[in-house]
Amino acid sequence: MELKKFIELFAEQFDDTASELFTPSTIFKDLEEWDSLTALSVIAMVDEELEKRITGADIRTSKTIEDLYNLAISN
């Protein structure tokens, strides 16, 4: 999966955040809507779309959306 598509899918997990705020360098934990429940949606999305398992530690150590993308495609 390309990074652009990953960012689109990542953004779909948010209800109230403007799409232009999602870029490779977005620090996703700084987004107002980010919380532990959004994290579950992101984990489910990666599982479904990439068939990869990302852990709680993966979420905690990633800063940007691109960091998470790199982990998701390398796991």
Partner: protein, 350 residues
Amino acid sequence: MGLIKFNGIGIHSMSVVVPKEKVETKSQNHLFEDEYLSKFIETTGVAERRIARKEVCSSDLCFEAANKLFDEVDISRDEIDVLIFISQTPDYKVPGSSIILQDRLGLKKTTIAFDVNLTCSGFIYGLYLAYSLVNNSGTNNVLLLVGETLSKITSSEDKSTGLLLGDAGCATLVNKNMKYGDSFFSLNTDGSSYKSVIIPAGGFRNISSLATLKPKMREDGSLRSDEQLYMDGMDVFSFAVSLIPKDVKRILNYAGMEVSEIDKVVFHQSNKYMMDVIAKKSKVELSKMLYSIQKYGNTSGVSIPTAIIEQKELIQNNDTFLLNAIGAGFSWGTAILKLVDCTILNIHEL
């Protein structure tokens, strides 16, 4: 191993007892913001839970549940050969609560009684143990008690567990009868993730001290001591979503069944979003799922019988059930079994 088939063994009857004290999630706005609580209810499904009073232990809830069963069913106390008590919240470190319960329940002195230390997978493992013991000649009736008062080892200010967990106890009678037909179990363990759900101190690896008893502010804003339950909800979720659908497929293959042949599906009531994601991945129709999480929260090993009893009006005699649970460790299992002439009591309060 890990895949087991039984014939002519089944669940004769079951009951659940919960504390009468109800805590509504919305009422916790002195600890969490209203917006967070609304989103929490929407995602997890937990609108209310039961929390035991200080003097009520898991064993008390199970004791009441067992008494209710003996009042209603045609199996007497004298006919119980084995008592299994599964809990993370026993009365004492020594002796096991099962030993005390043998006497409290008035069971005979030749009863085999023992405790098992498992969390949310406790009911599936307990059934497997009960079925295995009934499978032996000389053992006819097993009383399986699963009880938790996790509120006693949880911080109400913990973001993962503080709003999620409820207290409950259940009693299940397992016996022999050819009418039950075949039952199938798949049991699994991966201890490499044991730190994902843990009480880090207070055992013998890290003994209790003033420091371990002191509540500490955590990175995520939770206030919790090292002797209270920690759960990495993201880890549990990612593990469960990845592995449970595979286990469902594995047991269906073993039983030679299609998912369409299953009448009712009861997952451990972990959190509604997680249950529904797993159901979708497992190709289970949501209309077949039974839930109790809305009214009782995540009651650990008691949640499967709680959901069965809570929605018993949806059950037909001879329905084929698929049960699944994952708990700390990780420890997880799936069972396929029929409920045949099963006496299902209402949920009672203590």
